[in-house]
């Protein structure tokens, strides 16, 4: 069935699932999970080269014909670190867009919106397509939109926690007011979490741990693909209102007595 494409700046995608490349047991499982997910965007991180333990190049394990690489600034704690990381990603030949993440607290990995906003403004000016990761907070999301973010990515729950969409009402409020795509990023632990995000009207879901650390990552990747599609269809179809009392599905008249 027809659906419009997910448009983020100059990028366009048929799939509304964005998947990560972290925490997989090995590249083989990751490649198979990516394939099963149908995702057209994969996130990567930028890190210092480890001279003691040179690892295989992950880019050789990403199907670049099917997937666009989205570099993140994960692990950055200041606007400056995030800006430098985005520039380095561009220098590595990756597309000029960035999942902008500036963390403010080590234990919860909650975003530092002040620093993220500073970085967003600089990177937008430099021509990057900026996708900031932020709280499920309408005010923060609005500020990023005003700063020129191409999409805003509120969290469902803390990164890697798998707690699901903790505050669906907040996500709904953000969605009702947003003028740019809203991607629910972080917290999606299982298929129903992705369905809920999409049923609320989210434009997409970004996840990593929920698939990478699942018992069978490839099967979970497929589950997430179906969940995102299913939730999207349910949103587009329009659900029935919830009612307190029953309403018979079969005719009330003509029952034998």
């Amino acid at each position: 069935m027809n659906d419009e494409k997910l448009k983020i700046g100059k990028f366009e995608f048929s799939s509304r699932l964005i998947i990560g490349t972290g925490k997989y047991a090995n590249f083989d499982i990751m490649e198979k999970a990516h394939e099963a997910s149908g995702a057209e965007v994969v996130t990567v991180a930028i890190r210092r080269i480890n001279f003691n333990n040179k690892e295989e190049n992950i880019l050789e394990h990403i199907n670049k014909n099917k997937m666009t690489i989205l570099p993140n600034t994960a692990g950055c704690y200041t606007a400056e670190e995030a800006i430098r990381t985005a520039r380095l990603a561009k220098e590595l030949g990756l597309p000029e867009w960035v999942k902008l993440e500036v963390i403010g607290d080590k234990k919860t990995l909650m975003p530092d919106n002040e620093e993220t906003l500073k970085a967003a403004k600089v990177l937008v000016k430099e021509g990057f397509t900026v996708l900031p990761y932020t709280n499920d907070d309408i005010v923060a999301c609005k500020k990023f939109e005003e700063a020129g973010a191409a999409a805003v990515m509120p969290l469902g729950a803390p990164i890697g926690s798998g707690q699901g969409i903790l505050n669906p009402n907040n996500i709904k409020i953000i969605l009702e007011n947003a003028k740019v795509p809203i991607i629910v990023d972080a917290g999606v632990g299982t298929a129903s979490d992705a369905v809920i995000a999409m049923e609320l009207g989210a434009d997409g879901v970004l996840l990593n741990t929920g698939v990478a650390l699942a018992g069978d990552p490839v099967r979970m990747a497929r589950a997430m693909k179906l969940a995102v599609e299913s939730g999207r269809d349910a949103f587009l179809a329009g659900r029935i209102p919830k009612k307190l009392y029953a309403s018979a599905s079969s005719p009330i008249e003509g029952v034998i007595r």
Binding site: V44, A45, I46, R48, R84, L88, E91, L92, I159
Partner: protein, 65 residues
């Protein structure tokens, strides 16, 4: 010459940035380099001279979410 590479001190005998990257056995197309917090574009690796106490960040792409 003493350099700070990825936060660690290293003594290296090299003139240019490409000398250093070769000495470190790195594939030039798989890395990006910052010299004293400024990006060095790939085409400038050859003509970028290194000085004592220069700070370098040499990065690559890894898995992430």
């Amino acid at each position: 010459m003493k350099l700070i590479i990825n936060g660690k001190e290293k003594v290296a005998e090299c003139e240019s940035l490409s000398d250093l990257l070769n000495e470190l056995n790195l594939k030039l197309d798989a890395v990006a380099v910052e010299l004293n917090k400024n990006i060095v574009h790939r085409e400038n690796f050859d003509n970028t001279k290194l000085r004592d106490n220069d700070k370098l960040e040499i990065v690559t792409v890894v898995g992430g979410g």
